[in-house]
């Protein structure tokens, strides 16, 4: 097995990988930018190296620097996580050339599937249904002709795109030129490649994706589907495993198709095959993501797998520890992405210091997060703060646990989308599973806040704080830092005890205190 693995990422996913490495008894190496020095992925790793400034291009996206760091510290392999360099075939190739293992698919598979047009051609030849669409176009007049041929409405997408960027839905020929132009500009700015392509826009579709994992011995297994239709502006925010819309017959078909395209791409490691599912049960291949997905925990909770661990095993060359017939799915899992965006203010990103973070726990709850008290949320990286996953025997049970967990989650210092998620989870159409990818755009879900009650709480708290008697005031004056008990009884005793004990700690040294750090 690998002795030492470098984790080329940050935040919750870097911590997730560090944990998997520890479970495998592999030495973990974190890398961090200047602003991430105190991050959990750094503190929980066995070894950590600074790789540059906050700007990701000069740190987390600097493949040469990361490979040099891996070589210098004697790592055998690099795990890219998701985002950053995860789908960069040139990076994967450079890693292999440096004599290290890239924990992911081969550069050739990444290239074949990362180019959406080539992936589409591969899907057609592997006999997968695809959405009617165009090859790559760089001229707007060509694009209009194709759009008319396919029939409006159409979607204009960036050929090199991802994460929903650049995508535009065009209803008629009149709007087309402007939309195509803007898509090209955005594609050029974001990916350095202005090439676009056009696809028939299907209405009332669900986004269903199938998790696959393959080893280097030719075994490829489908590990169930995920329902990712709850999206805001093409960004997934709630994911489920399984999908309420997938029957056992459909699941077999999707799984077989997913394995077929993975086999056609000579795929190993984890990957995700995305499909669109129409209301009448037809489905179309959309694309294949050649990396670990953000939403992988829902699959892990229902199948009992550890996808991050498994991808390390297969990258080392081991055979997959299970085949499809050995995988038993159990119950239902739902994931909510907690992002630093303000639902009361047009979902603007919210940055600043999180002075207090308390994550939910309890039966059926798993939290993937790298939050800590005092963490700075900066505009340099994406706004994902945490992922909460709830498991239940039934879908309803998972939803109830998720609602409980979100109500327990405390984040002070930046705005989050938690109130918005709570509203979605309470909607009848969500609870009955009656939704498609346009659900959130159609329903103006507005978060509810109960401002009057919050004002009363603030007024009462400040009133009690200020009027809680002279003892509290004195205590505050002496340590400049507020006081323990604030409502009169016992406060004087408490502060006297604190003063005595803190004096003792100072004079005798902190080493006398029992601790578990």
């Amino acid at each position: 097995m690998f002795k030492k693995v470098l984790v080329a990422n940050r935040g919750e996913i870097a911590l997730r990988i560090v944990r998997a490495l520890r479970d495998l008894d592999i030495h973990s190496v974190a890398v961090y930018s200047d602003v991430d020095r105190l991050s959990q992925h750094v503190r929980y790793a066995d070894e950590a190296h600074n790789i540059g400034p906050a700007n990701a291009r000069l740190s987390y996206l600097d493949g040469d620097k990361i490979i040099a760091t891996a070589l210098a510290c004697g790592a055998d392999a690099i795990h890219p996580g998701y985002g950053f360099l995860a789908e960069n075939a040139d990076f994967a190739e450079a890693v292999e050339k440096a004599g290290l293992t890239f924990i992911g698919p081969s550069p050739a598979s990444m290239r074949a599937l990362g180019d959406k047009i080539a992936a589409r051609a591969m899907a057609i030849s592997a006999n997968l249904p695809v959405v009617p669409g165009s090859p790559e176009v760089t001229s707007i007049t060509d694009a209009i002709a194709i759009a008319e041929q396919i029939g409006f409405p159409v979607m204009v997408k960036a050929a090199a795109g991802g994460g929903g960027r650049g995508i535009r839905i065009v209803q008629n020929a009149g709007e087309f030129a402007n939309a195509a132009e803007r898509c090209m500009q955005e594609a050029q700015a974001a990916f350095g490649n202005a090439t676009i392509y056009i696809e028939k826009h299907l209405s009332f579709v669900r986004h269903i994706e199938v998790q696959v994992i393959g080893d280097k011995h030719g075994n490829i297994v489908a590990v169930g589907e995920r329902e990712c239709s709850i999206q805001r502006r093409h960004q997934k925010i709630i994911e489920e495993c399984p999908s309420i819309a997938v029957t056992p017959e459909l699941r077999r078909k999707l799984s077989r198709d997913a394995v077929r395209i993975a086999r056609a791409a000579n795929y190993h490691n984890v990957g995700t095959v995305e499909f669109l599912l129409t209301a009448t049960g037809e489905y179309y291949f959309l694309e294949m993501n050649t990396r670990l997905q953000v939403e992988h925990p829902v699959t892990e909770l229902t199948t009992g797998t550890d996808l991050v661990k498994d991808q390390i095993l297969v990258a080392f060359g081991q055979e997959l520890p299970y085949d499809e017939t050995e995988l038993l799915t159990r119950g239902w899992a739902i994931e909510c992405r907690i992002v630093a965006e303000d639902p009361f203010n047009g979902f603007l990103p919210s940055v600043g210091k999180i002075v207090l973070a308390r994550e939910p726990a309890g039966p059926g709850i798993r939290v993937e997060s790298a939050l800590y008290d005092g963490i700075e949320v900066t505009p340099d990286y994406d706004s994902l703060l945490a992922k909460v996953t709830a498991w239940g025997r039934t879908r309803d049970g998972a939803i109830m646990r998720m609602r409980r967990a979100l109500a327990e989650f405390r984040v002070v210092g930046v705005a989050t989308n938690i109130p918005y998620l709570q509203e979605i989870l309470g909607m009848d159409d969500f609870k009955s599973g009656n939704f498609d990818t346009g659900f959130l755009d159609r329903h103006q879900v507005s978060a509810v806040e109960g401002l009057e009650q919050q004002k009363l709480v603030a007024q009462l708290a400040s009133l009690l704080m200020v009027t809680s008697g002279d003892s509290a005031e004195r205590g505050a004056a002496s340590n400049g830092n507020g006081n323990g008990v604030l409502n009169g009884h016992g406060s004087q005793k408490a502060s006297a005890w604190r003063e005595r004990m803190s004096g003792a700690a100072l004079s005798q040294g902190a080493g006398r205190w029992p601790r578990s750090i």
Binding site: D380, Y381, A458, Q459, L460, S462, L464, M465, N487, G488
Partner: protein, 179 residues
């Protein structure tokens, strides 16, 4: 014997409360309310997390003391609460009118300006996009909070801005520019 206090929220909204102590309990009554609420505020450990019990119903809040009051975060809001002895209503200070009728559009977060879609002198409608600011790899539209005429735009595309930095100053549609 109850004592009366005035709590001023965000330098704007005054509400008076009565406070009385009974058998070590603290009871509070809000103006215009009949019922007394039994309240208890306790700090949780050494953090700034507090537990406020109102008639045995727990609420967590985050509280930072300041002279004569506290910043209290509950839900998504941080309220600036000033507590003082009660004064008759005539002496209450009302919220300040916006100076000179100007309205400032400030940066809601740190980021960089991608595009400026207004110029001084432009008449803008409420909800009209004034500029686009990029933060966390997302382009965000900043819209006019009200109708008005653009007085000044002290930033340009490509520039990085701090949170709360002035981006666009608006004056009411009918007001003429100064001088």
């Amino acid at each position: 014997m109850a004592q009366k206090y005035l709590v001023r929220l965000d330098e704007d909204e005054d509400v008076s409360f009565e406070v009385r102590r009974e058998d070590g309990r603290i009871e509070v009554r809000r103006e215009d309310e009949e019922a007394w609420l039994t309240c208890e505020l306790s700090r949780v450990g050494d953090s700034e997390l507090y537990l406020l019990m109102i008639d045995n119903r727990p609420t967590e809040l985050y509280l930072q003391r300041r002279r004569g009051g506290a910043f209290v975060t509950v839900g998504r809001h941080t309220f600036d609460c000033a507590v003082g002895p009660w004064r008759p209503p005539g002496q209450r200070v009302q919220g300040e009118a916006a100076a000179g009728g100007m309205f400032k559009v400030t940066a809601p977060m740190a980021g960089s300006i991608v595009e400026v879609r207004c110029r001084p002198g432009d008449e803008v409608a409420s909800g009209q996009v004034l500029l686009i600011i990029e933060s966390m790899k997302m382009n965000n539209e900043l819209r006019a909070p009200r109708a008005g005429v653009v007085e000044s735009v002290p930033i340009a595309a490509g520039q990085r801005v701090r949170a709360n930095e002035l981006l666009v100053a608006l004056r009411p549609p009918d007001a003429s520019p100064e001088g």
